[in-house]
C-alpha cells in the first residue's frame, strides 16, 4: 500500500516554510480549466496546479488552509543531468479556507470550483490518476463536505479560536460578483497531465497546538513513515486494477473512455458528451460507497484513507443537503 507523501508535502518537509514543515497535507494535481471545462491556455497546453488542503495547527480537527503550487521549470543545470529531473514545485498561494469555498463544479468531469471571498472563481479538473482518480475525486468531495462552513452543515466549532485560516464563520461578505478567474499567477508553461499525485494526509497529533512552532514538537513517529520510494501514482501505474475495472464494468457498459481520455476530452467536451458520460456512470453509486470499496481493496494511500475515514465520521453528523448526487 502506498503511504508516500505528495511532492508538495515532501518539498515543504525540507523546512523552507517552517509553518508547513510538518503540516499534514492532502494534495492532488489539477488542470486549470474554464467554467465550461476548456483548457485555459492559448497554447493549448495544460496548466497543472497542485492543490493541497493543510492543517497549520496540529490541534485543528480539520484543514484550515488551501495551498497552491505550480511546477518549476527545470533549470539548464538539472536538465543536463542524467535521468529525469526531480519534480520541483513552487508554492504560490496560501488561501485560508475561511476565505475560499470549494465545491464540485462537475462531478462527472472531476471538476472543482474554488470561489474566493473576492468573488473570483477558479475551475480545476483533477489530473488523470489512472484507474484511481474517481476514488481520489470522491475523497476531495468528502473534504469539501467537511470544509463546509457551519452555516451549511451541522457541525460547528471545529476550528479553535485564533486559528489562522480556520473557518469559524463564513466571511464571504465581500462577494458581490461571480467572476471567473484565470489563475494567471498559477499558470505554468511546463508540466502536464504526467505530473500527477495522489497524496497523503497525516493525522495530526493532538498534543501539538501551536501552528508556528510545530517543528520542534513533531512526534518522532513521523520520520519512520517517510516514503521509501516516490509515490508514482501516475496514469496507468500501480493503481490499475480492480477498482478501475469495477468502474469500467459498472459505469461504462458501452466502453467508457480511459481516464486520461476523459480528461483530455474535457478540454473541449460538449454538453451532449457530458450527458453520455453521465449515463455511463449512472450505476456507479455514491462516492462514499466507492471509496469504502476501494479501501477494502487497499488501493488507496493509507493516510488518505485515514483522512477519509475521519471525514466520514464528521460527515455523518451533518445533513447531506448540498451534496450533488451523481446520476
Amino acid at each position: 500500500m502506498n503511504t508516500a507523501m505528495g511532492p508538495l508535502q515532501r518539498q515543504l518537509r525540507a523546512g523552507e516554510y517552517e509553518i508547513f514543515q510538518y503540516a499534514p497535507i492532502f494534495e492532488s494535481d489539477f488542470i486549470q480549466i474554464s467554467k465550461r471545462g476548456e483548457v485555459v491556455d492559448v497554447h493549448n497546453r495544460v496548466r497543472v496546479v497542485t492543490v493541497g488542503v493543510a492543517c497549520t495547527s496540529p490541534a485543528l480537527l480539520v484543514p484550515n488552509v488551501l495551498l497552491l503550487a505550480r511546477p518549476v521549470v527545470p533549470s539548464e543545470e538539472s536538465r543536463g543531468r542524467r535521468g529525469p529531473p526531480a519534480k520541483a514545485l513552487e508554492l504560490t498561494r496560501l488561501l485560508p479556507l475561511r476565505f475560499v469555498k470549494i465545491s464540485v463544479h462537475d462531478d462527472e468531469m472531476l471538476q472543482l470550483r474554488l470561489k474566493l471571498a473576492s468573488g473570483r472563481s477558479f475551475y480545476l479538473q483533477l489530473c488523470p490518476q489512472g484507474d484511481a482518480h474517481y476514488e481520489l475525486f470522491d475523497m476531495w468531495v468528502k473534504i469539501i463536505n467537511l470544509l463546509r462552513p457551519p452555516a451549511e452543515g451541522s457541525h460547528g466549532g471545529q476550528a479553535l479560536p485564533g486559528d489562522p485560516g480556520a473557518f469559524g464563520e463564513p466571511l464571504f461578505h465581500g462577494i458581490s460578483q461571480d467572476t471567473t478567474g484565470s489563475l494567471e499567477s498559477l499558470a505554468p508553461e511546463e508540466g502536464g497531465p504526467d505530473a500527477l499525485s495522489v497524496r497523503s494526509l497525516r493525522t495530526p497529533s493532538p498534543s501539538r497546538d501551536d501552528p508556528g512552532s510545530s517543528r520542534s514538537r513533531t512526534p518522532p513517529s513521523l520520520s519512520p513513515s517517510l516514503p521509501q520510494k516516490p509515490p508514482s501514482v501516475g496514469r496507468g501505474s500501480q493503481r490499475g486494477g480492480s477498482a478501475g475495472e469495477r468502474r469500467s464494468q459498472a459505469g461504462s457498459p458501452g466502453g467508457s473512455p480511459a481516464p486520461q481520455e476523459r480528461s483530455q476530452g474535457s478540454h473541449g467536451s460538449s454538453p451532449s458528451s457530458k450527458k453520455k458520460e453521465s449515463s455511463r456512470r449512472a450505476d456507479r453509486g455514491g462516492g462514499a460507497t466507492r471509496s469504502k470499496s476501494s479501501q477494502s481493496r487497499g488501493r488507496t494511500p493509507s493516510r488518505i484513507l485515514s483522512l477519509v475515514k475521519s471525514l466520514s465520521r464528521v460527515s455523518l453528523s451533518r445533513p447531506p443537503k448540498e451534496k450533488k448526487k451523481r446520476r
Binding site: I19, E90, P96, R98, F99, A117, G165, P211, G212, S213
Partner: protein, 212 residues
Amino acid sequence: MAYAYLFKYIIIGDTGVGKSCLLLQFTDKRFQPVHDLTIGVEFGARMITIDGKQIKLQIWDTAGQESFRSITRSYYRGAAGALLVYDITRRDTFNHLTTWLEDARQHSNSNMVIMLIGNKSDLESRREVKKEEGEAFAREHGLIFMETSAKTASNVEEAFINTAKEIYEKIQEGVFDINNEANGIKIGPQHAASNATLAGNQGGQQAGGGCC
C-alpha cells in the same frame, strides 16, 4: 539553488497600495496594472547576493483588506524583514501606518527589520503624502525609508535588497540568533557547517539579483 541564508519577508499595508505589484516587479521584473485582490498570502522568492553570499528571499505578500487581516497577521511570525507599504497618492494609507506597525511588532519578533515604502512615486501629480512625511515617520519609528514605483521599477530592487543588507548586518552584529528560525532566518544547507566562522566576516557588501 543553494543559499547561505534564507530570509523571510512580509509585505504589509493597506489594500491597493501596490504590495503585490512590488513583489511581481522584484521577482519577475514586470508590472501588472490590474491585479486581483490578494486573499491570504501570495508567495514569491528570489536569490540575491550580499557580501558574496547567496541569500534567498522568501516573500509573503499578505492581504491588505481589513476583512482578512485577522487571519493574515498570524503569518507575520517568523519574519526577518517587513516591507510596510503606503500609497503616496492616498493619504489614508499613510494614516493607517501606525496600526500596521503595531500589528507587525505585536505579531513578529522585535528585531524584525522594517522598511517603510511610499509606493507609486511615478504618480507625482497625484501625490498626497510628501516624501518628508514618510522620512519623518520612519525616523520616529526606527524604520528604513524609500519611495518606490512598482510601475517603473524605481527603487524596487533597492527596497528589497537594502532590507536584506540590514538583516545581514544584524546577523553579523549578533542581534539575530540565526539558529532560531523564529527570527525568520534559515541557514542554507551548505552554509551550516561554516556558520561558526560567520562572526567577524564583515566586508564590502555587494548586492545583485537573480531569479532563483
